[in-house]
Every structure is written in C-alpha cells, then in structure tokens.
C-alpha cells in the first residue's frame, strides 16, 4: 500500500511535467494542425541558457525566469522562421518541417558548442525528501505537482475566460470559420506558440533541474513524451493532453517498480508497446475529439 502510494506520487510528479509538455503540443495542434516534433528544442535551447548562466554563477531563482523567457522567445522565433511559411500545408509538410527544425536547432548547437554533454549544478533541494506518515515525499515532486496545478488552473482560466482563449478555442474548432468571424489568425497562432513556449519553459525548468545536463539532442525525450501524451489523450483535446501526460507518467513509474529487475531497463519499450496496444483498441485516444470533415 505504502509502495503504491509512493509510486502514485512519483508518477504524478513525472506525469505533471509530461502534462505541461503535452498541453503545449495540443495547443499548437489545435490552431495549426501541426504535431510539433520541434517542441523539445525549446528545452534544448533553454538547457544551454541554463548551462551558460549557471556557469556564470547565477542562482536557480534567477535562472528560472530566464529559462521560461528563453522558451517563449524560441517558440516565437521558430514560428516566425519556419512554421509561418508552411501554414495550411499538408500534414506531411508540417510534420517534416518540424522534424527539420529539430535537426537544424540541434545541428547549430553541434556546430557551435559541441556534441559533448554540458553539465551544471542542480539546486541543492532537488534530492531532499520529507516524510508524511510512512511516505517519503521528494521536495522536487511536491514543487512540480504544486506548480503544475497552478499553471493548469491559470491556463484553464486563460482559455475559458479571456478573449484570447475564446479565439484559441474557436480556431481549434474550425480555423476558417473563426477567421471569418474576425479572429486574427496571426494573433491566435503567435499567442498559441507563446503559450506553448511558456508551458514548455516551466516543464523545462523542472526537467533541467533534475537532469543537470544538456546536449544538442537533449530535447528528443521530452518532445517524444509530450507528443505521445497528447496522442494518448486524444489529439486536439487540451484536457486529454493533460490526462495523457499524467497517465504516461504513472504508467512509467508503476511499470518500472513492478517489472522484474532483469527487464526494468526496458520500461520505456514496454510503455511504447502499451501505447501501441491502446491505439489498436482505442484508436481515438482517451478523449475523442469530434472532427467533422465537410463533404
């Protein structure tokens, strides 16, 4: 029982980060029908910024807003340089454009920094734990879960209660009609990229705090988790993305602790397998999004 509770809390911590990443992916999918394989690059760029600022002696309290800002700016720059030029293209073009962005960004770091791993110090409290009853809670998990909860509430308010949120939802439902109704596509798309950058920035802070290193390809894993979580939840559904992230995090932690030691290192493989099975038996993901095609 204790072990299960412990797993749930660990999984929730991990899943929170995935949820933030998946939400960013889903927001952009909503406005552009683009599944963004370059989403992880926001963390790659942030990782190098963290490396440079921390080796200058900055504290994590200062580095945190810098990372978030970097992620937002990077997201907007990528939109401007690449995605704005392929708006409305076929899925094929959109997917490969984002794949291309991923490679160009990581190649730039490969070219101008190096392929080697750059490490930086994590904040001291990351590994601390505090006891609740028989449980040992990591401070890190508690912070991650708390911040994610606040972020999700704020995002939900933004989407449900503001004009921007209304425009975003309208655009996600039917982009062309939304434009006819006076929604400015530039504003909505840029807003969505900024929001997605903000969410990735927050996730990135946690990701980097834990890992303490960066490489040109460090973004691949968070990208994959975000994209898969968004897909598990049901592409296009924002609630589904959050749910998908949490489910993915829980599944990973539970599997890792339950699998026999000899195959524990294959956890990721098993998770992918389960996702594949999910698609075979419930191809629309956890939450079905009605997508009407006019015929």
């Amino acid at each position: 029982m204790t072990e299960l509770l412990q797993n749930l809390i660990d999984g929730l911590g991990r899943g929170s980060i995935y949820a933030l990443l998946a939400l960013g992916v889903a927001v952009i999918f909503g406005v552009m029908h683009l599944l963004n394989f370059a989403h992880g690059e926001l963390i790659t760029v942030s990782g190098y910024v963290a490396f440079w600022t921390i080796s200058e002696g900055w504290s994590w309290y200062l580095v945190t807003p810098v990372i978030i800002g970097t992620a937002i700016v990077t997201s907007l720059v990528i939109e401007r340089v690449a995605f704005s030029r392929v708006r409305g293209s076929s899925d094929f073009t959109l997917l490969l454009t984002s794949f291309g962005v991923h490679f160009v960004v990581s190649a730039i770091f490969l070219l101008y920094v190096s392929a080697s791993v750059k490490t930086f110090s994590e904040p001291g409290w990351v590994a601390n734990t505090f006891p609740i009853g028989s449980l040992n809670i990591e401070v890190y998990d508690a912070v991650v879960i708390g911040v994610t909860l606040v972020t999700l509430l704020a995002t939900s308010w933004l989407i449900q209660r503001t004009m921007f949120g209304l425009a975003l939802r309208a655009a996600a439902a039917d982009f062309d009609t939304a434009r006819l109704m006076g929604v400015r596509s530039d504003t909505v798309i840029r807003g969505a990229f900024a929001l997605s950058g903000l969410l990735a920035g927050i996730a990135g802070v946690f990701w980097l705090m834990r890992s303490g290193h960066t490489t040109p390809t460090v973004g691949i894993t968070p990208m994959l988790k975000g994209v898969l979580a968004a897909l598990i939840g049901g592409l296009g559904s924002l609630r589904g993305a959050v749910l998908g992230g949490i489910v993915l995090g829980l599944a990973e932690v539970l599997l890792r602790s339950r699998l026999p030691d000899s195959v524990a290192s294959l956890t990721e493989g098993f998770v992918f397998l389960m996702i594949a099975l999910l698609f075979i038996f419930r191809p629309q993901g956890l939450i079905r999004v009605a997508h009407a095609e006019r015929v």
Partner: protein, 630 residues
Amino acid sequence: MAEPRGPNAAHAGMFPNLRRDVAFPIVGVGLLFGVFVAVGLLYQSSFGGAGERLVTTAMINAIIVLGIQIYVGNTGVLSFGHIGFGAIAGYTFAIFAIAPAEKIKRIPDAPLGLTDVDMGSWGAVGVAIAVTVVVAVFVGIGLARSGAESGAVAATVITLALLFVTHEVARHWPELTGGERAGLSFRIGGKLDTRVPIYLALAGALVLARLFAQSRRGRLAKAGREDDLAARAMGVNPMVQQMIALLTSVAVVSVGASLKVYETGSLLPEDFFFFFTLLTLTMLIVGGRNSVTGALFGVAVITVGRELARRMGQDGFEVFGLGLDSEPLDWIFRENLQTVFLGVAMLGFMIWRPKGLLSDWEFDDWLYRRFTRTQSAPPVPQATMSDESEARLEVSDVSVVFGGFQALSQSGFEVSSGEVVGIIGPNGAGKTTMLNVITGLVPATSGQVRLNGKELIGTPSHEVARAGLVRTFQNLRLFGSLTVRENVEVTRLVAIAEHDDRSTPETDVLVAAAGLWDHRDRRASELDYGNSRRLELARASAARPLFLLLDEPTSGMSDTESLAMVEQVQTMAALVSAGVVVIDHDLDFIIGICDRIYCLDRGSVIASGTPVEIQADPAVQAAYLGSSAT
C-alpha cells in the same frame, strides 16, 4: 502505337496496361540503374578507397530509400518508423549471420540459444525479412486503425514510437544486441568482398518500387493518398492498399539494412536511429517522394551535397582547389557542417519545394509518352450496354441528429434504374446529409437504405460503392495530382475487379463522353471548375454504379454549362446504364433532367412528384421557391 483496346484488354490483372506499366518501367529503371552505377564507378575511379566506400554506402542507402518510397510515396503517410524496421532487420541479420565463435565474445548468453545459430548470410537475410514483415503486420494494423480514426498524423506518431521502441530495446537488451557501446561487430567472411549482391538488390528494389507504383494495388493506394474519403467513396479500401504497400516496403528496407550491416561490419543502436532517419528522409523528399526516379536522384544529390559539406567543413574552399581564402567563412566551415546541411536541406525543401526536385516525374513515363503515338481522335462510345437488370434503391424513414440539430427526420425516396430522380430544397434542408447517409459517411440515427432489398446502413463506405452506389462531391474531391485519365482509370480498376461479368467502358471512352478528351493528360488539380465537375461525373461513372448520386453537379456553372450538363449526365448514365439521383439548386437543370423530384425542407420531404407537379405545389413554392422564384 495505339493503346490495346477492346473488351479483352479490360482484365482485372495486376497491371492495367502491360506495355505502359511493365515493359517501359523495366527498361526505364534499367537505364537509371546503369547511369547511377556508371556515375558511381566514375567517381570511385578518381577518388580511390574513400570514394569506393562512399559509392557503396550510397547504393545501400538507395535501396533503403527506395523501400521507404514504396510506402511513403504511394500512401502519402509519413513514416519515421522505417529505420526502426531497418534496425529490426539489421539486428536479426547480424544475430543469424555472425558465426557462433564470434558471437560467443559479444553475446554469450543470447536468449533462445541464438548464440549457437549459424545460418550464413543468405539465410540470415531471409530470416531478417521474415521477422521484420511479421512485426510490420502488427504495426500495420495499428496504423490502419488509428489512421482511420485520427488521420495520417496519428499514423506518423506510431511509426515514430516504433523507431524509439527498437532503439530502446537495442540499447537495453545487451544479451541480444551487445548493448549501447559494445554493439555487435563481426566477421562473416570478411566485409562484403564483392558488390554483386548490392547491385542485384538495388536493381531489384528499383524494379519493385516502379512496378508497385504502376500496379493495380499501387494505383489504388495513390487514390487513397490523394483523397482518402473520395477513394472510399469510389470503392477503394485504402487500409488494404496501405498494408500491402507497408509489407512490400519493409521487405525492401530489410534487404537494404542487412546489406548495410554486412558492409559496415558492426552494428550499434545509433546506426539505425534519428540521424539515419533524417538522412534517408531528406534523400527521399529532396528528389521527390512520389517518384522512384526522384528517390534515386535524391540519394545522388544528398550524397554529393553531404560529402561536399563534410569536406568543406574540414578544408573550406580548398576542396575545389581554388586557393580562395575561406577565412571569412570560418564560422560556417566547421566540423559537423554535414548535419547542418541535412537539416537545412530538409527544412528548406519543406518550406520552398515540398514536392522535391522532380515532384512525381518518372523517367519511364516520359519515355512512354515520347515513344507512344497518342491517339488524336476521341473514341466513339460503343453502343449503349443492353444491361436490363432492374435495380431499385429505397431510402425510407431516415433520421439524423447532429448534437441537438435534426438534420433529417423520417425522410426517404425511391428510385429505379433508368430513372433520374432529383432532390431539391433550400440550404440546410438535409440534401447532402441524405447522400452522406446513403454512402456510409454519416451514420443515420434511424432508418433504412435498401439496394435491391439489401440493407446498406452500417456498411462501410467502400462497400457501399462496390454494391453500386457511387457519388460525386459538391466541394470537388478529385485525385488532384493524378491526370484526368488516371482519375477515371483508377476507379475503373475497382469496377472491373468487381463486375468482370459486365463489360465496363474503356477509360478513354468515359473521358471522351464526359467532354474531357482535350484535357485527358492534365492533372485534375489544374482543371477549371466546370471540367472538374465533369471529371467528378466521369470518375463516378467509371465505377460502374447501379445508381449515380450527384451532389450539386452544376454548382458554380454558368447557365450554358448547366444546360450542357443535362446532356452529359444523361450520356454518362446511359453509357454505364445507371439510374441517377441528383441534388441541385439549379431548378432549370433539375426540371430539365429529372423524371421525378422530391422536395426536402428542414429535414423532411414536403412534396414529391413529376417536375410539373412540383412546380405547381404550393408547399414547395413556400418553402423553396419563396419570393425569390423568378
């Protein structure tokens, strides 16, 4: 030489036209193969050992890229997973090909006693293909199910997940794969000491890729690529075509991957991962993913470009022996320039030329058109078929509710072969919804659709089409990058497989009868509005329907064109002896063509009868004609 014609040419075999689809492609790829190999040999004779390795690698990459092309090019689904399949094949090959004495050093505890297996390299290639194809069957089922639900994007993510699964397994199962750092390295009998197997595999991959594209299956797959929904409505089940394309494609990739492993002499998880995916996909899209010629051309262009980038990264302009000062460009001439080159090539092509250098141009297709005298006079339609079997479509009590909106309530109509029945009504009356229900695109809340007494509600779209109900689309859903002839031909392929008992009119006859003879070799996407509508009609007729269901065939046409359309619909319907159900706004057109008319308003039938009765009906005048009737 004229096309072979006559009823005997209409067979439901693998290839619609042997000369065009088999003879010319084989000659064409033979010439391409010759040029590719000759350029390679020329290059290596001037660069020695390093050049030889480069050329060998390029040929192996070409095999893998051609394999990917078979799937991606014909189905239009982007796959990141083919390199994952490559990894499965590569490891299987290595494990079965390495001699036990060598294996014992790296993987002494391989499961299933694989350490002691000794198959030799030929057997190992066979096992590699078999294992990979079995995995591909399961992946293909997942792709088909998710693709049907959420479109190509979900399918792409599944392929990406496959790439990661194979990578994770390769990294974390050292007993089988030698793990992340050590990997497998081996001697089978030395490295490949002759290039003959590579030449054979490359030639085979080229022929297979080209023949698949020209085959019946390949053509049906391309219809699905162009418009999944329209392909279904014409009786094509894209899922079946995609699965066949996937298995063919994966088999070719397996051969390429085995050769790559053999040639390299070692295998690490990284060898079949992101970078190799980037490399092969860039080769594919730069040349033109929809063309085999393009794929081969892309391999050549990217191999040369990447080699140039690599050497300029080392030596700057000295590569050209120019003695130019490259110092101002030192910021770009760096190690790893080749990775930047690949990323930029992919991104640049996606932004500025997503179809690649050659788009869908094929060398053998060009040869064929060059060396085949085209028939200049349009063929005369043969006498109308004396197919007098009576068919009857009964639609009754159909209701459809969208959310809270009742789109159709208890509506229906009847039509028999030889009749033309019109459905009119104001916007939002439920006319198109009616067609969508009949053709299986929209589920009915209740009601029956019976064709010759057989219930069709709940039948998938492509089976409705094969049963004999084929529609056109109000908002034009042609197979855009196929030519006019190909649009008709691909649908006709479905028909001749389905009804070989009834002779189906030749493609050219249908094209000419629809008034599209002068445009027969143009792409559907280049047609103007009126011709697009005529092609919709011709394409649907080619499916040999019992009933043609026409969704606003004159929308956007001028009055003269509309009048001409009356005759065209009658001609086409007579040519394939189909009954007609037509929806339209254009009253003159409807009255000119219909035997009977049903009038829908707010989801219900408010009147039915002959054109004269309908025009006189006060309810129709109130609901439909209103004050705007002139």
